[in-house]
Amino acid sequence: MSTDHSAFRSLRLEQVGRVFGAHNALKNLNLEIQRGEFVALLGPSGCGKSTALNCIAGLLTTSSGSIWLDDRRIDVLDAEERGFGMVFQNYALFPHMSVRQNIGFGLKMRDVPSAEIAKRVDQALATVRLESQADKLPGQLSGGQQQRVAIARAIVIEPPLVLMDEPLSNLDAKLRLEMRQEIRRIHAGLGSVTIYVTHDQDEALSLADRIVVLRDGEIRQVGTPEDLYMRPAKLDVADFMGFRNRINGRVAQQSGDQVVLDIGGVHVQGQARETITGPTAVASLRPDDLVAVAANEAGAFSALVEAIEYRGRDFFGSARLPDQTEVFFRSHHRLNAGEPVHLMADKSKLLIFNQEA
């Protein structure tokens, strides 16, 4: 079929774009992925992550740009010729074929001799631990089992690239956690590239070596899970990663990447993730890093409590600043709605961004 991929080093997307009528789904995507990496494409719905995956798979053609496997250009090839394994969101198992036939389908299409097919299918079944279900029809399996068949089917052809399109989104929470570990384990065993599309931040953080955050067809940030969690580079990425607080303030002082904002008279300091232009900026903070403190602590700003929830270890609250911005915070004591509260930001966790246009 195609050339031997086992020695490939990298997958490259160069200025890849995809337009649907008037809608620009992918805008000049540039990305390089090395062999052995587990890369997650993360973003809200409509951000273009599935479109990007389908372009890599060949199920969609690119409107502009090119895709390269080392020095071979692959975006000109049909999906049938690329030799990538793909796991679909709804599994896409052939309902009229047994598990064994489903898994062996890719090998059959490559004219692999049937003895060899049987051997490799058995290996794949062992990898996903489904030996006992080999002769059942997909309709007779549970969701988690179907998912494992889909994975086995994609990896048995020993592809250089395994593409996964939100494979766990249809499973319940417990199963999702179990399958996450399975997927990680299988990836490690294969030693090839896995590209994993998800909208679930936790999944991306736990599975990926590198995360690509997409929004509106553009890459917003690429980094390790720790990079993204601790140091999001853009306001919308921070928002997506759980920095729910966005507090506006006047820029009082700047030195290097440390910026001091004046928020209602109180000065708070944080790290700027981009060059701050303009007189005002946004302080971005996770709710857990904004704590309710005693009234007389310096550096705390005041707000009015709106609601408070018991979380066991502490309380989760929402409040309104004098300028009516809603903020979310943590408290060790129960508070009442309407009560004034003083909130202290952990300056090592506070990030400063320009205001969005």
Binding site: M1, A57, G58, L59, D78, A79, E80, E81, R82, G83, F84, G85, M86, F88, Q89, N90, Y91, A92, L93, F94, P95, H96, F105, G106, M109, R110, L137, P138, G139, G143, Q146, A150, R153, A154, I157, L163, S169, N170
Partner: protein, 295 residues
Amino acid sequence: MDHKHQTGLKVRLAARGLDGVTLLVIPSVMLMIGLFIYPFFYGLWLSFNPKEGSFLANYARFFADPFLYETINKTLWIAMPATLINILFAVPVAFRVRLMQNQRWLTTLLVLPITLGTVLVAEGMLNYLGPQGWFNRTIMLLGLTAGPVKLVHNYWGVMLSLIITGFPFTFLLILSYVTGIDPALENAGKTLGARATSRFRHIFLPLLIPGLAITFCLSFVQAFSVFPSAVLLGAPAGPTRVISIAAYQAAFEEYDYSMASAIAMIMGFVQLGIVVAILSVRGLFYRGPAVGGKG
């Protein structure tokens, strides 16, 4: 005490789904029984009560007279090929059309022959396919034949009219089955290296066979009851003397309702027999939903 008993009955009936609303079905049910079920049984009974002879006289006469029993063959000889041709053409067309964004224009044009009906199509064909009609003129102009081809008042006229009125129906039915197959299955096939012909052979065809079987049954049954085309466009005394003509003649020319009922019964049973045969073969295949999993 009495009141409680009555309420109890109402509640129990309602739990089984029987209340005032359910009664709304009754008029339609009575209509169907009176106009469909009863005539069937009456016709069945009547067929065993011939004008003269024993109770099997009608059937005996049918199978003894070649002018009568050959109608089955002649009808099959028209209906089978017409249905098979329709399906053979409808499948590739459906596969192409399912990829189209705006199918409405095409389906509207294709629905035209069905809306116009068999009588109008017959008259149109008499004009268009006649020896002086545009069709013959065109093929003679193109040098494809020396003289006009006889396409009316024979077997071919009827065959063509069955294709014209039958193809749209077959096509629309198959299109609905094809679009009912989860598109992700084709995508999965592609990523696993299957080319278009392999995808058709291993993925689409097995999933389509149940639908094709049903389409065949519905189309065949329709073709087998061909009537106005066989008379107007065919040679109703000869090669296109179909079984519905025999039934009609018995009823309205010989005024032998008993014989007509017998012929209608025979017609019904031949259709039933073939449908049952096809459906039992269908039973051997995967008949579940053509989707790739949950979600």
